[in-house]
Structures are given as structure tokens and as C-alpha cells.
């Protein structure tokens, strides 16, 4: 955000704070209700995809990961009220850093361990050599 923008006078919001433009109990409940409906839809799709024969089997894990990431996004937006607004910059930056670390940790671990697994002699051969 560039300095001098009019929007920069908006106060920060804490994560979980509802937006200032959602007046009244009704619209506040509606936000959670939309989030609930979307989350139920994505969860139901995940469980359906995992148990069905209709989908090409090798694509199922990818579909599940995509659905899970979408549902996490729904939770972040509708339940934790993380937005792209200027009042949320600090929260989003912290989230982005957290996501970066999570991705490094997960892919790094899986990559290194798969590589070690690939390069290691099968256990039965190793045992035979030691005998």
C-alpha cells in the first residue's frame, strides 16, 4: 500500500474482527452462514470424491488437496475475517510468512526423505551384506 492513500486512515483490524461495513447482527450472522454452507459443500465434495469410483483414481489425491486448500480459504475469509483490505495488511503478511514456512517444511521433508529412500539399498539386501 502506498503512503498517502486515503484508505490508510482506516484503523487496523485484529484477525477475527468483523468488518466495519457489516452493520447489524443479521449481516454478521449471514457471513458465518455463508461460510458454513461453503464449508459443508466443500467437505461433502471431499468425502464424495474419496469414496467414489466416478473419478479417475490417480486424480483423487490432487482433487482432495485442492478442495482442502479451498476450504481453508473459506475458513480464513468467513470465520477468521482475513481480508485483502488495507486494515488487514499485517495479518496477511504474517499469514503469508506462515504459509511459506509450512510449504518449505512439508515439501522439504517429503523431498529429502523420498530422495534418501530412493538412494538407499533395500533393507533385505542390506541385511544379506552384513551377514
Amino acid at each position: 500500500m502506498s503512503p498517502g492513500e486515503n484508505q490508510s486512515l482506516v484503523p487496523d483490524s485484529a484477525p477475527g474482527d468483523e468488518q466495519a461495513d457489516s452493520h447489524g447482527v443479521g449481516s454478521a450472522v449471514l457471513v458465518y452462514l455463508i461460510g458454513l454452507v461453503l464449508a459443508i459443500g466443500l467437505t461433502a465434495t471431499s468425502f464424495f470424491v474419496a469414496g467414489t469410483d466416478l473419478v479417475w483414481a490417480p486424480s483423487i489425491p490432487v482433487a482432495l488437496v485442492v478442495l482442502a486448500i479451498a476450504q481453508m480459504g473459506v475458513h480464513l475469509v468467513f470465520f477468521l475475517h482475513i481480508t485483502t483490505g488495507p486494515d488487514n495488511t499485517n495479518n496477511v503478511m504474517a499469514l503469508a510468512f506462515g504459509v511459506l514456512i509450512v510449504i518449505l517444511l512439508m515439501t522439504g521433508s517429503l523431498w529429502i526423505m523420498a530422495n534418501l529412500n530412493h538412494n538407499m539399498m533395500p533393507m533385505d539386501q542390506l541385511m544379506r551384506m552384513q551377514r
Partner: protein, 221 residues
Amino acid sequence: MTSVPFSSDRADPNQVSRRPTGHGHAGVRTDGGPAPKRIVVGFGFWIFLLSDIIMFSAFFATYAVLVGETAGGPSGAELFDLRNAGIETACLLASSFTCGLASIAVGVRNRMWFYVAMAVTCLFGLAFLGLELKEFVSLVMRGAGPSRSAFLSAFFTLVGCHGLHVSAGILWLLTMMAQVFAKGFRADIERRILCFALFWHALDIIWVALFTVVYLMGAAR
């Protein structure tokens, strides 16, 4: 040498401390001092939650690495009951929704709705814990306890850690109900409720990753 006028942009490049000024014409930022305590507390708790999620990602990585190492024992496809996992997911999702309703009740200072929403949240949380405990007991009874294989050690560590978080969340929930009962919607109590709601929603996010990676992928494997 001329002195450079003090610029709030320079002193606070990320605008951590900007606040509404109420007066002054648009476009001119005046230094409003530190951010309100509610925002500082919420942001600090957000950092904690992110570090908690990073801790969980280490457990997820451990699980993903060890998922095939069953040591001749049962695999996830033989052990997991998707119906049970589905009901657990529904409980946690519903409790996240009612927790949101409790936050709204705090916003409008309605004690009755706050108690009702928090009590329902608590019941859904307890139902979740009960189902998870039932699953753990049945696994151990079938000889598939955490000491059976590396896969099961990783499974119990990951799912059990989430279960411990939910247990801690329920204790916190009951504490918040008692504090509102004893002290009312004071500013400090309200900040604690904000942090609790963040914690509860974050647990639901971790559960989304958990039921996908552990149960659905385990059953599809």
C-alpha cells in the same frame, strides 16, 4: 544543515500504529500513537496461531513420510472409518459456526445468546472428543496402538495433538463462560474471547488438513 521534519511514514514504514484521526483532511496521516490494545493482542495471538500451525505442519510432514511404514501391520485403508471421520468433521464445523455466533453475541452485549452459543460450541466440541476417543480405544483394542508401527505412531501423534488442542480449547471455553458470568463483557474479557474464537477457528482449519491427509487420502490409498 537543515533538519528533516519528522515523518510518520519513515518512523513507521509498515504503519503498525496508524489509527483513525477523526479530524484533519483526507490524505494526511497524523501519528496516532500505538495501536489499540485489542489489535495488538489479536495480532500477537495470530502470530502464536501461525507458529502452532507450523508445529502441526512438522507433524503432518512426519506422518506423510511414515504413512507407508506399517511394519507388516494394518494400513490406514484397513483401519479408518470414514463415517466416523465425517461425523467428527460435522461436529467441529458446527462448533466453529456457533463459536462465530458467540462472537456476534459479545459484539451486541447479549449475555443469554453468548451462553447459549458457547454451550452449544462446547457440546459439539465434546462430541468430537468423544468420537475421537472412541476411535483411539477401538484401534488400541484391535492391536493397532501407537507402538504397532511407525505409521501408527505418527497417526496417534498427529491426531492426538489436535485432540489435545481441542481439549484445551474446551477448558478455555468454559473459563470464558465463567469469566463473563462473574465479570461481564469487560474490555479485557472481550480480548480473551477474541483470542479464544481465533483459536477455535484455527483448530477447525487444522482439522480440514487432517481429515483430508489422514482419513480421506488414507482410505483412497
